[in-house]
């Protein structure tokens, strides 16, 4: 099949970017989207052009490195997949595909389609952990956890930190990302102890880093490659309120 690509090119963080058009003729249905970009890059290199910078690593939808805004959607068409799991069979022959980087105040562009998602790490640093020392922990079965809570915590914990939530959010809010961690740890006895404090600290850092305010549109949930529910945001809100009522 043939595809026409419209790709955002930007030499570095400070340069002015622009869209460039490319065409590929011999794309096969069963190629993954990133393999299509690999093919484009080898063509560009051979033609003496600079290849398109895009990030990816595990190519099986779990590391969260890849993240392209494809035809108006983070990770493109297809339900609950990361960009690396997207395949060309979901596109039509001759289709024009628009590829953009994440665009959010919290994710500045490094080059072409590569953005800096360090902000998510900083938010995690603010409290996305249980303050437990290494060594001397009690036996795992000493604290019982109901299956329901463990399962719900696991739902939240499946976040891959790709940034699609903030990327699709019309306010560039990182709430779903934070909520996933706060909710996971609030559901487990190990994390409950400092749940409210955690919510407060993580929200404070999110605010500092230039993410917007959640307005509950639900786009993040719909586009999350792991389908993380808005219910976790509600739990974050509860924990946050609790923290403020207590203090």
């Amino acid at each position: 099949m043939k595809v026409k690509l419209k790709i955002w090119r930007q030499a570095n963080a400070k340069a002015k970017g622009q869209f460039k058009n490319y065409e590929l003729d011999d794309i096969q249905d069963e190629m993954s989207f990133l393999e299509m970009l690999d093919a484009l890059n080898s063509k560009l290199i051979k033609e003496g052009e600079n290849p398109v910078a895009f990030e990816n690593d595990c190519r099986e939808g779990i590391c969260g490195t890849c993240g392209l805004f494809i035809n108006g959607r983070p990770h493109g068409p297809g339900e609950q997949i990361a960009t690396c799991q997207l395949h060309m069979r979901l596109f039509k022959d001759g289709e024009t595909i628009v590829i953009e980087p994440w665009r959010a105040g919290g994710f500045p562009i490094i080059k072409d389609l590569v953005t800096d998602r360090n902000a998510y790490d900083k938010i995690m640093q603010a409290g996305g952990f249980v303050s437990v020392n290494i060594g001397g922990t009690p036996d795992s079965n000493a604290v019982l956890i109901s299956k329901e809570h463990a399962d719900e915590a696991m739902d939240a914990a499946s976040c891959i930190g790709c940034g699609a939530c903030a990327a699709i959010c019309k306010n560039s809010s990182a709430m779903l990302f934070i909520a996933a961690k706060v909710s996971q740890l609030a559901l487990l006895p190990q994390g409950k102890v400092e749940a409210s404090k955690r919510a407060k600290r993580m929200v404070a850092v999110m605010d500092e880093l230039g993410f917007g305010n959640c307005s509950n549109t639900g786009a993040c949930e719909a586009e999350c490659p792991k389908g993380i529910s808005l219910a976790h945001i509600a739990r974050l809100n509860r924990e946050f309120l609790k923290a403020n009522i207590k203090s």
Binding site: N71, R73, G105, K170, M206, L230, A234
Partner: protein, 225 residues
């Protein structure tokens, strides 16, 4: 507590609580309006009560404050959100991932505010400070609010224009509420996967009630009465 007010979540909680307060007010307002369908005496008595009851007078100033806070915080939050999204996408496909109203709350809000402004001038201002004819119901003299309403909704092209604006505004309010209702509960933490469905349904029903309830009035006067 100071952190709370300046934090994003704190501001949203204030927006939500003020919104929920306005949601309750709308029900009261709608109830009063529906007295219009009961004829002039019924409506005038209801209006008189609202006009003179001391408790209502206090609530009225709280209501004004509610509006001001809601509008103010909506604007603050919106400006921050615009700042958080400095560059727009060339192509953004959101039809399936979020509702139109949820993405356009600020514009719906601004539209509703515009209506509110004319509405206050047309009714509230006139009733409080303007020249109004009086009427006597059950031996008590009171403003003839019914006449004021009928005057706006009947007779001539202007009534059609005014009714049109009125109806469109309440459709906008309905859309605003359709997202606002559940969203407010979500923001204060009262939601989960089960309650979200329930609250969404209740919210939609409520939004429908408000839209239909209010638009019934001009339709009644224009076409039925």
């Amino acid at each position: 507590m100071s952190n709370f007010i300046t934090s994003s979540l704190g501001k949203k909680v204030i927006l939500s609580l003020s919104g929920l307060f306005l949601i309750m007010f709308l029900l009261v307002h709608l109830t009063a309006n529906l007295f219009l369908l009961g004829g002039s005496d019924a409506f005038n008595i209801a209006t008189h009560f609202m006009d003179t009851n001391p408790v209502i007078q206090i609530i009225q100033s709280i209501l004004a404050l509610g509006f001001i806070i809601h509008i103010l915080y909506a604007l603050i939050i919106q400006f921050q959100n615009w700042r958080a999204t400095p560059v727009k996408y060339k192509k953004k496909y959101q039809k399936e991932s979020s509702s139109w109203s949820s993405r356009n709350m600020i514009w719906l809000g601004i539209f509703i505010f515009g209506f509110l402004f004319t509405h206050i001038i047309n009714f509230f201002y006139v009733m409080k400070f303007g020249e109004m004819s009086s009427t006597i119901v059950h031996g008590e003299e009171m403003h003839d609010a019914y006449k004021l309403v009928v005057g706006l909704f009947t007779g001539g092209t202007l009534a059609y224009v005014y009714s049109g604006v009125y109806i469109v505004s309440f459709v906008a309010l309905g859309l605003h509420l359709n997202h606002a209702f559940w969203s407010a509960f979500q923001t204060v933490g009262w939601s989960n996967d089960i309650w979200r469905k329930r609250l969404s349904v209740i919210g939609s029903l409520y939004a429908l009630l408000i839209s239909v309830g209010f638009t019934v009035i001009p339709i009644y006067f224009l076409f039925i009465k």
